[in-house]
Amino acid sequence: MNWPAFWLTVRLAVIVSSLLVVIGIPVAHWLTYSRWRWKFLVDAVVALPIVLPPTVLGFYVLMALGSRSPIGRWWESLTGHTLAFTFEGLVIGSLIYSLPFAVQPFAAGFSAVDPRLLRASASLGQSPIRTFVRVVLPLSKSGLITGFALSFAHTLGEFGVVLMVGGNIPGVTRTISIDIYDRVQAAEYAAANLTALVLLVLSFLILSLVYGINRRPWAMGAWK
């Protein structure tokens, strides 16, 4: 078991899914309530990582972060090193890669909130921001939990983007999924199996936790 890789991965997943709560809530809010006619294009862009091969996504992120791109140069002037093949670069790539897994459950939660409650809140003197915090967020709790857990689990298991953007630097960008790949390449099946098992169990636990919290005890039986 490669513990440095394990903890690196957990650290990455915690940072990415937490940042996605901060970024995802405003994005989901905009996607839910905006009346802009071209909104569907933004919807499509947000959903792209679900369908794109991770290598394609990783390739473009690498290009965008490299020292030839404005973002890469700006970062270099700020910190003295490039974004590509660093942990920070990995975070950015993972944010984009897992964005839909946070935004879509958030947006589904927001749009499930009865709009009449928002009207009532306004007539009780509460500003749109307060209404969002006091009514929409609490009532979308399960969507928020789902989005957080899915983006966490998705980051935990990513491979293609990490390999493209981060390379395979032990302690910096080597995550467990890459570690598993390395072990298999080196024919160390027992070690690969152990790590894979840890990832499997961890993912299962996270999903069970989500579905357990969101369990609806009053769900009706199958329709007969």
Binding site: A120, S123, Q126
Partner: protein, 376 residues
């Protein structure tokens, strides 16, 4: 009560002038109203689709009129000319929505305290307990909305709005789901509250009963326009216009042509539905040959099983019972009089004692002043 209100209360009148058009399944809908509501109850009465809820939404700021002006005590919330449009949450207008829209994730007390979030906790608690007591639901404070009954929800919704001390109160059929007793209790509580606050209360309903029970003023709406306005007994008792008649429960509506004018008696003779039935009606401003509409309430018709004699009523028409139907505690009889069908309402006891049945020959008796004439 509105007449007795002190002159200073004029300053809190709600004045509404709204024009709005929007697409509707049956063509474009035009809303065009202008009225002033004094402190106290003003009823907005009309069939569904008449524009009542749109008016309330516009006043509350949840919907914008195309053009118009809305103000309370001279302070504008909407003025399309000056491009004023105060957002809903800054208007301090209380609005109890038809479906109440209580917050499901909060308790009754948290719901009530929702609009006074800026006060310190102790004040919030004191005031919310106080108003829950006023509306007799203080025992529910810790319960969630899903755990309380329909009538209790209505009270919590009212309390939640009133605690914010609104400058005007909009009620969209808030009592529609309640039985009569529960309704009159809440109305008493509301009146008591308003004796202390004295704000304009716009109350939307399509129940005739509520108009008489609550209204100091009633505004009758039809298809986006005000068709009548005034104290309920004036507006509702003597319908001047067909729409009012239809809405206020006149079951018999006929086309009528004036065929005789008897100025000496103050009456006219009208032929109903091209005859042969003729009725003596009150005299209105009309000429021989004028086409009018004639309305008679089913409850104003008498039925006789023998030729009636010695009556003051001027209209006695033979006919045959074509259908007899019991509805709750009244019996509705459809009587065919040579092709013109009248609907009469009787008590159960009357049906028994006359042993009425379908096919029976009867006489309909109509007092002259039970005939209401309207322009066609």
């Amino acid at each position: 009560m509105s007449e007795a209100a002190p002159a200073s209360s004029r300053s809190s009148d709600l004045e509404v002038r709204i024009r709005k058009r929007y697409p509707h399944p049956e063509g474009t809908f035009h809303l065009n109203v202008h009225f002033r509501a004094k402190p106290g109850f003003t009823i907005l009465f009309g069939a569904s689709g008449a524009g009542k809820t749109t008016i309330l939404d516009s006043i509350a700021g949840l919907d914008g009129p195309d053009e118009g002006r809305i103000s309370i005590g001279g302070e504008d919330f909407v003025d399309s000319e000056k491009k004023v449009n105060v957002p809903a949450w800054k208007r301090r207008i209380g609005y109890v929505l038809q479906d109440l829209a209580l917050f499901p994730h909060l308790t009754a007390e948290q719901n009530v305290a929702y609009g006074i979030y800026d006060l310190p906790f102790a004040d919030r608690r004191r005031r919310s307990r106080e108003i829950l007591r006023t509306f007799r639901v203080e025992q529910l404070h810790g319960r969630h909305i899903s755990e309380i009954s329909g009538g209790e929800r209505q009270r919590v919704a009212l309390a939640r709005t009133l605690i914010t001390e609104p400058r005007a109160l909009l009620l969209d059929e808030p009592l529609a789901a309640l039985d009569r007793r529960a309704k009159s209790h809440i109305v008493d509580d509301l009146r008591a509250w308003n004796r202390a606050h004295n704000v304009p209360i716009l109350y939307v309903t399509h129940s005739r009963e509520e108009v008489f029970a609550l209204g100091e003023q009633v505004i009758v709406l039809d298809a986006g326009r005000i068709v009548a306005q005034g104290p309920p007994h004036e507006v509702m008792r003597a319908p001047q216009l067909e729409t009012v008649a239809q809405l206020s429960g006149v079951e018999n509506l006929f086309d009528a042509v004036v065929i005789g004018i008897h100025e000496d008696r103050g009456t006219m003779t009208c032929r109903v539905n091209r005859g042969p039935v003729e009725l003596e009606t009150p005299l209105v401003h009309a000429k021989i040959g004028s086409k009018l509409r004639l309305g008679i309430r089913a409850g104003d018709l008498l039925l006789a099983i023998e030729t009636p004699r010695g009556l003051s009523a001027r209209n006695v028409i033979p006919g045959k019972i074509h259908k007899l139907e019991q509805r709750d505690v009244i019996v509705s009889a459809l009587v065919d009089c040579s092709g013109t069908e009248f609907e009469a309402h009787l008590t159960l006891a009357a049906r028994e004692s006359l042993s009425l049945s379908e096919g029976r020959k009867v006489w309909i008796v109509v007092k002259t002043y039970s005939c209401h004439l309207m322009s066609a």
